[in-house]
Every structure is written in C-alpha cells, then in structure tokens.
Symmetry: C2
Subunit: 436 residues, 2 copies
Amino acid sequence: MNNAIGVGLLGLGTVGSGVVKLLEENAPRIFQLIGRRVEIKRILERNPEKARLLGIPPEVLTNRFEDILEDDDIQVVIELLGGIEPARTWMLDALRRGKHVVTANKDVVADYGKELFEAAAAGNADFYFEASVGGGIPIIHALKENLSANKIEEVIGIVNGTTNYILTRMAEESVDFQSVLRSAQEAGYAESDPTADIEGHDAARKIAILASIAFNTRVTTKDVFVEGITKIAPEDINYARELGYVIKLLAIARDNNEDIEVRVHPAFLPQEHPLASVNGVFNAIFVRGNAVGETMFYGQGAGQMPTASAVFGDVMEIVRNLESGSTGRFACTCFLDRKICPIGQIHSKYYLRLIVKDKPGVLASIAGVLGNHQVSIASVIQKRTLAVEGEMRAEIVLITHEVLEQDIQDALTVLKGLSIISSVENVIRVEGGSKI
Amino acid sequence: MNNAIGVGLLGLGTVGSGVVKLLEENAPRIFQLIGRRVEIKRILERNPEKARLLGIPPEVLTNRFEDILEDDDIQVVIELLGGIEPARTWMLDALRRGKHVVTANKDVVADYGKELFEAAAAGNADFYFEASVGGGIPIIHALKENLSANKIEEVIGIVNGTTNYILTRMAEESVDFQSVLRSAQEAGYAESDPTADIEGHDAARKIAILASIAFNTRVTTKDVFVEGITKIAPEDINYARELGYVIKLLAIARDNNEDIEVRVHPAFLPQEHPLASVNGVFNAIFVRGNAVGETMFYGQGAGQMPTASAVFGDVMEIVRNLESGSTGRFACTCFLDRKICPIGQIHSKYYLRLIVKDKPGVLASIAGVLGNHQVSIASVIQKRTLAVEGEMRAEIVLITHEVLEQDIQDALTVLKGLSIISSVENVIRVEGGSKI
C-alpha cells in the first residue's frame, strides 16, 4: 500500500534542488516524525540537465503545469519559480483545486496574500510560506503561533543578506559602497542587477509580510516606505562607530498605537542592540511583544539548504494537518484594518552630515534653522576641514533628539537654500535608542 | 451561549498572576485569533490575598485539586506550582481524565516526560511545555515543528539567567564570584539558596528536555554531566578576553554521530560566536541543523510576562487543536534509543591555568606530561609571577588542541602529583572553536 504524500515541485533551481536533496538525506527521520512518506511525483522544469544531475528519472519532469494540477495523487504543490507570473496564477489554481501550497515567493505573498488565502479557503487547502522571509529562520510560525498571545509592538529585521554583507564589509574594511558591491557581485553575494537588494525593495516585501502577520492587517509592498543603502559613505560608518552605533538596513514594522509604521531604510543602531552584531549574510528578526518583551530570531536568510529547511518544515506541517484532519488550521489572520503612518508623521532621531563653509557663525545659523522647525540637537561633532573647489569647508555631524520627520525634512529644505551650506551629505534615521 | 474554553490554574505565584494579567490585557486579540473566549474558571491557591490583589472573585479560588479535576467545564489545566510533587501526580491525573495540560515545570518535564506523554495519549489530551525552557523563547516549538525536517547536529544554550547575569557582571566589573552572587541575591536576580542555578542543575534539566526533542531520544537529568560556575575566577575571565573568548555557562547537546553528548559546564566561547554577546539575564539557544545551518533564538528566559507569553501560546495551540479537531497532533517524539557519551569520551579543547614553581624547566616538564597523554598544546601564556608562602610562583595558562577528555584528566592527575606544580587553578572546556 502506497500511503505516500504526493508532491508537485514547480522549479528545480537552487532551492528546488535543495528540497530534493533534503528529502533524500533526511527521509527516514521525516517518515518517523510524520508517519507518512513524502514523494516528489512531478517536477515542472524546462532544463532536463538539472534533473539528470540529481538522479531524477526523466519521466518525473514536465513542462506543463496541468500535469501537476490534474494529478490526483499530488496533494502538495511547492512553488519555487519566483516572480509574480505564472507563479501567482498557478498557486491560485492549485489552492482552488484543494491542493496545499508551500512557497518561498516573497513577491507574490507580499502583494497577493489576500487572494491566495481566499483561494485556500475556497479549496479547503493549506497555504504556507515560512521560506518567504528570513530563509531558514522560523519567524512566520513564531509570530502566527508561539507569540500569538502577545500584542506585537515592533518587528525590526535585518532581512536582506546582500545589503548586510555589503554594510558589514564597508564597516570592517573602510571601503566605499561601489567597490564592495563589485566584489560582492564577483563573489556571488550580489546579483548582476542588484537593484532589488540595494534599493531596499526585497526587504520591503519581507516586512510587508511580517507586518501583516504581526498587526493582523493587510500590508502590501506599496504601503512600505523604502530607502536603499547606496548613499551610505565610509564617513557615515566611521561617525556611527565613533558615536556608539552601527549602520544596518532595517525593515521596521511598529505599532505606534494610533497607526502602524512600515518602512525600510538604513539606520543607526546602538552597538549594544541585539541586531547590531548580526553580520555578513546572516539575517535576524527582532520582535517586541507586550508580554514576551524582547526576542530575536537569527539564522541564514537565504541559501539552498536553509530555505529548503523552511519549505520542508511547511510540508511536514501540512502532512500533520492531513494526518490529524486539521487542514485549514491556519488561515488569514488579517482581521483588522489598521492605517499606515505616512513617513512625514513618524517620530525619530536623525543623524545629519553637512559640508559647510568654514566661517564663524555657521553652526549658530544651522542650529537656528533647526530650532525654528522644532528640531533640537542631542550631539554635534565638528572636527574635519577639507578643501572643496579651492575653498576650506568644514564637516558637521549632528544627532537630533526625537522629532517629527516632516519637521526635519522642512528644516533640510531651508538649510539646502542657505549659502553657508555646501551640501547635505547624508540624513540617516537613528533607531533603537530610547527603549533599549 | 457560553462557548468559552475553561481553564483551571494551579498556582497563582509570579507566573500564574502573569497569565491572569495577560489574558486580561490581550483578550480581544486572543478571541479574534482563535475564535473562542478563554476563561479561568478555578484557581488552586492557598493565599486569597494574591487573588484579591488581582481582582479575582473569591469563589474562583480553591484548595482542592478535585474541584478542578472533576469540573467538566474545565478543559485545560495550567500547572505553575513548580517542584515534582504534587505537580507530577496532578498533571498525570488531569491528562488521563482528558484534560489538556500546559506547564512551565522543567523539573517534572525533564524527568517524567515519558509517563506524562503516556498519560496524554491515554486521555486523548494535549501536553505542552514551551515555558519549561527559555521562558518566552519558542525553542521547543521550533525544534518540534519548524526545524523538524533537519537532522539536528547540536543545541547550545545559555538557559540560566542567574549564572549568565553573574558571569556578565564578573566580566564587566572584574569582581569575584562571591561578591557578584551576594549583590545578585540582594537585587533579586539570584535565589537565597542559589545552588540549583550556580551548580548548573537548572540548566541540566533544560538541556535534558531540549536534547530529548532534538535527538528523538529520552534524556533525563541524571544523563547530563554537570559542572557549575563557582570555580570561575576573575583571572580566568581576563585570560579568556585576552585570548579572544568569553566564559559562559553552556548547556550543550551534541550529536557526534556515534552517540550524543549532553552536558552543562562553563566554557570558553569565541567572542564572534552568536551566543557570546548574550548578556545579563537574557537566554539564547543556538541550534545547528544539517539543512538550516546555524540559527539562534534569543529572549528573556524567565520573568512573569515572558513565561506567561509561552504558557498562553500553548493554551492557544490547544484551543486551535480543539477547534480543528486535531488534539494529539503533537505527541512524544522520542522514538529512538540513543546512547549518551560518557564525559571521559568527549573530544574538546581545554584551557588550563596552573600555578607552578618559578624554575627553569617547568614548562618542559608540563609539556612532557601532556605529550605523554596525547595532549598537544595550541597556545601558552606565562607572564605573571606571584609570591605564595614566601616562594615565587609563576602562573601558566595553556590552551590545548582538541583531545579526549579522559586523556586530559589522566594528564592532570599526573601533573597534580609533580612537586613543581603548586596548584591546578582551573580547567575549562573550550567550545565553538573549529566549526564557527
């Protein structure tokens, strides 16, 4: 009697191959834990070479999604194609037909979560996506289940390995962004088109997913304020160190009680913060709940086997649901309709680095403009003078107290119009200060 | 129609009061998530004052466990009494009667897990114990569910807040163990009888629980090798820092393929290890799986609300099981019978601090003895001379390469017999070196 759970795999790329390998290596343990064999029955993949290298018989491969959709022996579809289409349509079709779906596809989950959950409900099927955020780190289950007795106050993630690798190397080697990016590309840690990573879009999708779960309200990519790391200079990293901070690309979801903030941007983070020592390609997600307090989940945010671990964890969950007759045990949890705080309305501290004319009274003028906009200064560093176009300039670094973002932006507009200001080199939000 | 889930609470101490408060604060959210109200129907507590302060009506209190056991409106029993009896008997009775049980009681879970799971199976009830290890950190669910596709290679925990607080303060302030212990007792971070914490017994119970889950084999407290932190001196901490390490009380469960190692002892840990920056009363559990690689789970390992968060997370899990008809979804996972590696058979690096006569040839003699026992030396520090009983002595610090524990113990026996050795001041295992 063959009581195996049949799986259809969409895509035999890096992660897909990892799923095949993981099942091969850990099959006895998996069988003992869930009491059913798991069998990959069909694989949608155009390149037969990939299958041959893994020893997969050619008849398992197909080019037609229908071969998976219409096969009644396939109960679970693992979607690892990436991108919106055809992944979105195929997942919807599979769910409506009652096939359970596991995906690592952050793009689709971030923007089409609602319709996917509706399709799952219509088909009485399970929809799981642990691998879409944080690779092998079980952050989605933690938020949906283990921490669910908490009102979640904030989720702060380092959820993009490429940018964390670049910022870590910039800090360790005092080199500029472009050179680290180039060597990261050569080493395979950054894509040839790195836009989605370095401009923060990848992190934005992930925090949209986490915010939706944490705050029980639907958040999609367009709701997320995004700023990348391309403007971060070695000078900023050095000043950060001097002031007791590190610079990280943070994905932040915060409940400020009135509305919720969802944003991705580089930020100063105190060196003592648990996220500050998360380096290289590692990811970590910091969660503060009203009962549990501060927690953090750390691990490899990408890569073949860590992602396969999360995918297969979800498959095992689905099998447990099948075995215990509890399919649909976890469905959509977005039962609220929270408002998103516009970026101008957030409160934060700010780091400003300005190049100014090296004259008496300059600092007084800057402080005056800031004061007129309710921006008060917490600390100032002025120590470097430099020649720009034959004239001497001074570099001034300021950290503000907590202020309204709109006020600081208005003040900057005025500052940029002053003849004493050569340039506003950078403006970076400062996180994790008061509460840590 | 009252469709509330009835709860019986055993013990209204710190955590019990936390559970009551958490339910009060987060009740609307909890109801929306699980679709059922949760109502604490009876509380077993001898001190009515505790209930009065929380605004609990007197008729909810009882002195008799039977009032909870025999009440058919109570489906879930939360056990927060601590200690072995009567907690063990009452949990067994409740489970056999078909009442689901949630506990934070590491003592009972570590040593009576088998009979508790048998009772749960007999009563078709759920038995959950997330709060028994790591307070609010969802490590048990992570190991049982999300990471379950992995073969777990090692679990290394900082799972005792008291000892981590003491070691952190010793490192930050260069003071000795006894003075930090006294001030920790005054501040309420250490019990008046601190034995269970400082001698490692508390951590031993927790690692017995984690090892049982990680390796699918029953491990109880008596299987765990235990050594406390009372012999750690400021000198050891300073040498550790100089050599690039920190000293932590580690609870280690490792699969060395042949058998499993389960032990609690202070250890040198490289400063770059994710666990090295876990300070103060925080806990963290580092898990290495064959697919997921390195992960870490960090948070408050004790305290009223973090522990209540874990307890209530389990209650919600039970309600989800009731709602989806999947009670018994998670049962005992100890289906293997792995052997425990005797401490003499482990392989480790060692730090040795010796006080020796300050004479030529002493280091050669020590190296000779070690060499005779297959112990090779990785690094040596000798820089301090001190007067002992009117004679000049030298302090020698050695780090060995990885060797068999029995060999180092045999070598130490010989060294202690040499007239040139005044004393073996400390021997500390060095962890996390080669693989990190």
